[in-house]
Amino acid sequence: MATLELEVAEEAVTQPARKARRLGILFWVAIGWMTLVFAVAVFAPVLPLPSPTDMDMLERRAPFSMEHWLGTDGFGRDELSRLIFGARISLVVGLCAPVIGLTIGGALGMLAGYFRGRFESVVVGSMDVLLAFPPLILALAVTAYLGQSILNLTLILGVLGIPAFMRVARAATLTLARREFVIAAQALGATHARILLRELLPNVMLPLLAFFLLAVAVTIVVEGALSFLGLGVPPPISSWGSMIGEGRESLDVAPRLAFMPAAAMFLTVLSFNLVGDTLRALTDPRQGAL
């Protein structure tokens, strides 16, 4: 059986390539920005910052100074501090709401794509109902009924994201469920739960996560739109979206009040997607195999 000796020497099996080098400078810049934003957001309360809500009503829209590095907003509040505290809200809402969509929509989509049949019709139908319902009305109704809070805001945005996640998960599951490794698991006598969790989930997770990153970006922006309509974060809390909305009113006098949070949002959204794209390329088995 000489022919059977298949040496699996170290180099015969593909080495996971040295990842760091092929990530590129942009990736690290993006990581750097994300780290910075997360760090200041997490440590905002202990940073030596002026209070983001304390007003100096006579020092409104002050320009950059030693005291207020990025100046003050329309109420004389420290802009830098509001940006940093705003990052907390934008990130929390921007991350938590898609998580809701990811878990519920992802689970529904996987179940629908795996079990098919009537269950699938019901899931798809109810998602259509959710989509057919004007989102703003839902947002208005929920805030009117449950009141305005970050939690409710997150819930609304999360629920609104469910159909999209469902679609992504279902589409991925549909193609995967016919793949042979799933049939192989069935042939081994694996239960449905095991197949869903062990075989499908790790594979569905990838497109879902890619979509998740996009959803983070969209959520941060949509939160701003809701703030503009008075359905966003309750004042005096700041979020980037609400800051853009407030800044819009003094676009003539102090355009930076709208543009600084927009720039923060842009950099963060861009970083998220850069990192997401790179990570996806990295964890894609097909690309890795080349």
């Binding site: 109902v129 057919a132 842009f266």
Partner: protein, 316 residues
């Protein structure tokens, strides 16, 4: 095909019933009793009770729902308590605006997004592609309420090329009508093209790696024909889905844009209805908008079949 159409149409019904149920229950659960809103300073408890009785608000909710549904099935969507307009009148007035806005916005977004996507896909990884990716995310980070006012300042106040706000029906003066729609639809298009571009670009890149594209090149076809005839169509399924969802959403109105540009669209009607607790209008309009959405979805499904003959012929 006929079977396909019939089945989709049948599917419309349960979705619409669910939408109407949802609307009705949400509308009924809203705080702020209609009676108080109508009575205002007259809202003594006795007056409120009497008015509620008059309006049937003291009936159980399912009874009210069935009543309303009965009316709807007979084509009677009811009348606004505030303006006296019927739901159908109100929608008939507003819908053309929303539809025109939606169409022009989609046209704009596709007009910007599709060519860019094709160029980026054809040169994926190149400097132009990277630049456009950055620009796309930049545009995503400018909310419509900001871009709208910037466009107004620039095009209306500074350059005076276009009106800042307003509307004229198309029938009255087509040219003026279009001038009024340029900025609002541009605002929406600016918000939407990044999504369109991203989606189409990645689908295009995948398609361009297909064997049949290699074959098209090997046949010596000109690059334009390869991109537009061979690659675009098979890459556009996701694009169609996204556009369908966007259209469905915009039928329900683009509240922010309508507010800023003072367009009398469905979005402002809806928000006005909810802010004044004009529930009859709210329920009716949401139902009609929902129907619009479902029909759009239906059209999108049909479009899949047009785009992809495999679907048309029942192969998946």
């Amino acid at each position: 095909m006929a079977f396909f159409v019939a089945r989709r149409l049948l599917y419309l019904l349960p979705v619409l019933i669910a939408v109407s149920l949802l609307t009705f229950s949400i509308a009924s659960l809203l705080p702020g009793d209609l009676a108080y809103t109508i009575l205002g300073d007259q809202a003594t408890p006795e007056n409120v009770a009497a008015l509620r009785r008059d309006m049937g608000l003291d009936q159980p909710i399912w009874w009210r729902y069935l009543n309303w549904l009965g009316g709807v099935l007979q084509g009677d969507f009811g009348r606004s308590f505030r303006t006296g307009q019927t739901v159908l009148q109100a929608v008939a007035e507003r819908l053309p605006v929303s539809i025109e806005l939606m169409l022009l916005a989609q046209l704009g977004a596709l007009g910007i997004g599709v060519p860019l996507a094709i160029i980026c896909a054809a040169r994926s990884g190149g400097p132009f592609d990277r630049f456009m990716t950055g620009t796309a995310f930049g545009m995503l980070s400018v909310p419509t309420f900001l871009s709208a006012i910037l466009l107004i300042y620039f095009f209306a106040v500074e350059l005076r090329w276009l009106p800042a706000t307003g509307y004229l029906p198309f029938g009255e003066d087509p040219l003026a009508n279009l001038r009024f729609f340029v900025l609002p639809s541009l605002t929406l298009a600016l918000a939407e093209w990044p999504g369109i571009m991203r989606v189409l670009r990645s689908d295009m890149i995948a398609t361009l790696q297909e064997d049949y594209i290699a074959l098209a090149k090997a046949k010596g076809l000109p690059p334009a024909r390869i991109l537009f005839v061979h690659a675009l169509k098979p890459s556009s399924l996701t694009l169609v889905t996204i556009t369908g969802i966007n259209i469905g959403r915009l039928i329900g109105g683009a509240v922010i844009v309508e507010t800023i540009f003072a367009l009398p669209g469905i979005g402002r009607l809806l928000i006005g209805a909810i802010l004044t607790r004009d529930l009859i209008i709210l329920q009716g309009v949401v139902l009609l908008v929902g129907a619009g959405f479902v029909i759009t979805n239906f059209v999108v499904d049909m479009l899949y079949a047009v785009l992809d003959p495999r679907i048309r012929h029942g192969h998946s």
